[in-house]
């Protein structure tokens, strides 16, 4: 930056008009009239953004965080708060044998071998550093390690309040406590400002922007807010998240996704910021791979609480059956894509939602208030007998009982010859009433694709095949780390590690 002349700053067409107007009072009418300057500007406010912001602020840099929504945290504050940490202290304390090989095997299997090995190596090798960063900020985790689908061993640290807000809130407090930090909410990132060497030197945003979830396509239709230009002396970290709520862009990738398809994402999860990175030359990777979360329910909107029951209780310690056959049809803890594909097959066109259930014991692993809420909502139901459960959902009671008896036998033998599920080592089968059940449906959950980054979180340019100077990215806006399908709990790992690395390198 220091060796660039001011004149050099201004050849980019997108900037020229704005800057000329804004720069009218300046002696050099070509220079952008900055409304403020920082060392680092972070776009977004989820896990990746917070890791980048906190880390760079800890280095003594001045940091601006911009978030278009009114609330801080995006999908991260409504997420389930399960953070995969391979080779963690809790695994060690609980005698769980994990290894690099096993982590890679699980992750590549789910990702259909499309994962970028350098990025996998990065998130594996820095997992404990990211965990420590959250602990240093004050995040708290339960002792019980979650075993999310597709993981061969339990690796999931779960926040003590059962949501990603258990990580974001302490990180936000830490960020604000550091000198020269600022958060601007309702501030929409619109454009990167580059100099004529292609280096990102700042951003154009709109303050007082108000996201409107009644619009079909907020990114293009919403004209609210006041334009401002902010200079980023060291660099910009793009951590704007995924686009599962972007009706236009997701349909371009998967034309069969209906506009009213349910997603677990907040309504602001749109593609605009990522598309701006593509506009200045970022390589797109895997953008058409959209992941459906298999643990949602059609009986509640959005992310809801269904996943709490299915991830922690029914899938791990119970089974899922097809209503038409009263039989199992999948490995309940396979990776997300395997399960979502199987579920969509049986759901078909007549909304034949599968039934997920377990007995009374696994629900004790849920946070009590989440269990109580889910039961009170009616999405989760309690039954004293399997007959009652069968009657409620129109299953064949005698076939269902055979299915359960067969599964219980598999648990006893420790082997599931039908679907290869890893069975509970503590012998928990489906035999102690009452039984808990719900209808299930996969919901649009995670955009696998995004901008290409290297293992320094630098965004790679399709123009030069080199990093775009001054531009870093982390989290769901990036592509390649998880391949075709991300394992549950690897998102927090990816976001925190890559955000932290961006904060170290910017």
């Amino acid at each position: 930056m220091s060796n660039l002349s001011r004149r050099n700053l201004l050849k980019i067409s997108a900037l020229a008009a704005a800057a000329t107007a804004l720069g009218a009072n300046q002696s050099d009418s070509n220079a952008p009239s900055w409304d403020g300057e920082y060392d680092v500007i972070v776009i977004g406010s989820g896990f990746a953004a917070h890791a980048a912001a906190v880390k760079s602020a800890m280095r003594g840099l001045s940091v601006l965080m911009v978030e278009k929504m009114g609330r801080v945290g995006g999908n991260s504050v409504i997420n389930g708060g399960i953070f995969c940490v391979p080779l963690s202290p809790k695994q060690k304390a609980q005698g769980i044998n994990d290894s690099r090989e096993l982590f890679f095997k699980d992750t590549l299997k789910a990702g259909r071998n499309l994962n970028n090995p350098a990025l996998l190596e990065l998130i594996f090798s820095r997992a404990n550093d990211a965990l420590n960063l959250t602990l240093e900020c004050g995040a708290e985790y339960r002792d019980f390690l979650e075993q999310s689908g597709g993981h061969s061993v339990p690796r999931g640290y779960k926040t003590s309040n059962g949501t990603g807000a258990g990580i974001i809130q302490p990180m936000q407090a830490r960020f604000k406590s550091l000198p020269n930090t600022e958060v601007k909410t309702r501030t929409k990132f619109d454009k990167f400002i580059t100099d004529d060497s292609g280096r990102v030197v700042g951003v154009e945003v709109r303050e007082n922007y108000r996201f409107d979830n009644k619009l079909f396509d907020d990114d293009r239709e919403n004209k609210s807010g006041d334009k401002k230009l902010y200079r980023a002396k060291k660099g910009v970290v793009l951590a704007s998240g995924g686009f599962c709520a972007d009706k236009v862009y997701r349909k371009l990738q998967e034309p069969l996704i209906p506009d009213n398809a349910q997603t677990t994402n907040h309504s602001g999860a749109t593609a605009g910021a990522m598309l701006e990175a593509f506009r200045i030359g970022a390589y797109p990777v895997h953008v058409s791979h959209l992941q459906f979360g298999p643990w949602a329910s059609p009986d509640e909107k959005g992310y809801g609480l269904a996943s709490k029951f299915n991830v922690t209780a029914s899938f791990r310690y119970g089974i899922s059956v097809d209503k038409k056959t009263s039989k199992r049809y999948m490995n309940e803890i396979a990776d997300r894509k395997t399960r979502a594909d199987k579920m969509f097959e049986i759901i078909g066109k007549d909304e034949n939602y599968p039934i997920h259930f377990c007995d009374s014991r696994p629900v004790k692993h849920m946070l009590k208030e989440q269990f109580d809420k889910l039961l009170a909502s009616g999405a989760l139901k309690r039954f004293d007998t399997l007959d009652a459960l069968a009657a409620e959902y129109g299953l064949n009671a005698s076939t269902l009982k055979q299915t359960v008896a067969q599964y219980n036998e598999y648990v006893k033998q420790g082997k599931d010859p039908d679907f290869g599920k890893i069975l509970p080592k503590d012998g928990t089968d489906i035999s102690v009433p009452p039984f808990y059940a719900m209808r299930g449906v996969p919901k649009l959950h995670h955009a696998m694709g995004g901008v290409a980054i290297n293992n320094k979180a630098q965004v790679l340019s399709s123009i030069t095949n080199e990093p775009i100077a001054g531009l870093y990215a982390a989290g769901e806006v990036t592509g390649g780390t998880h391949g075709a399908s991300r394992l549950g709990s690897n998102a927090i790992l990816d976001c925190l590690v890559c955000g932290m690395v961006a904060g170290e390198n910017v």
């Binding site: 504050v77 949501t163 807000a165 909107k301 609480l305 909502s377 999405a379």
Partner: protein, 127 residues
């Protein structure tokens, strides 16, 4: 502010009290109407053309309602289910007031975006 409200209660003809026409176009919430608030009580120093008034933001709301922490404290009894909308498990006492509360149109409840069924167990209609 409270003094001004009292003044208005005694002096309904004061300047700034909304006309019938304006009160139809820009209706107030019953609790605010009950206090006989006029346009200028919220839209202070914004001139006298209601169509050009701007939203008063958190600062405006909190000039009477004091602080988000205090509002969270008043609904502390809802913490039992971690369902205090002013101190939720996701956001704490940080949300913009107008994320949910609107004065001249129906309020919304952001919690409904994910907790469709539970919200009615947790709380009444958003004022």
């Amino acid at each position: 502010m409270i003094k001004r409200v009292l003044c208005l209660l005694f002096c309904l003809a004061c300047a700034g009290f909304a006309s019938d026409e304006l009160s139809v176009k820009y209706p107030l919430k019953p609790h605010h109407e009950h206090l006989a608030l006029g346009c200028a009580d919220c839209h202070e120093n914004q001139g006298d053309e209601p169509s050009k008034f701007k939203a008063i933001g958190d600062k405006g709301c909190l000039s009477c309602h004091k602080s988000k922490k205090l509002l969270a404290k008043r609904l502390e009894f809802m913490d039992v289910l971690k369902a205090n909308p002013h101190n939720s498990v996701h956001d704490g006492p940080t949300l913009y007031c107008d994320e949910c509360h609107n004065e001249h149109k129906e309020s919304t409840n952001m919690c409904l975006e994910c907790h469709e069924h539970e919200v009615k167990e947790w709380m009444g209609v958003t004022p």
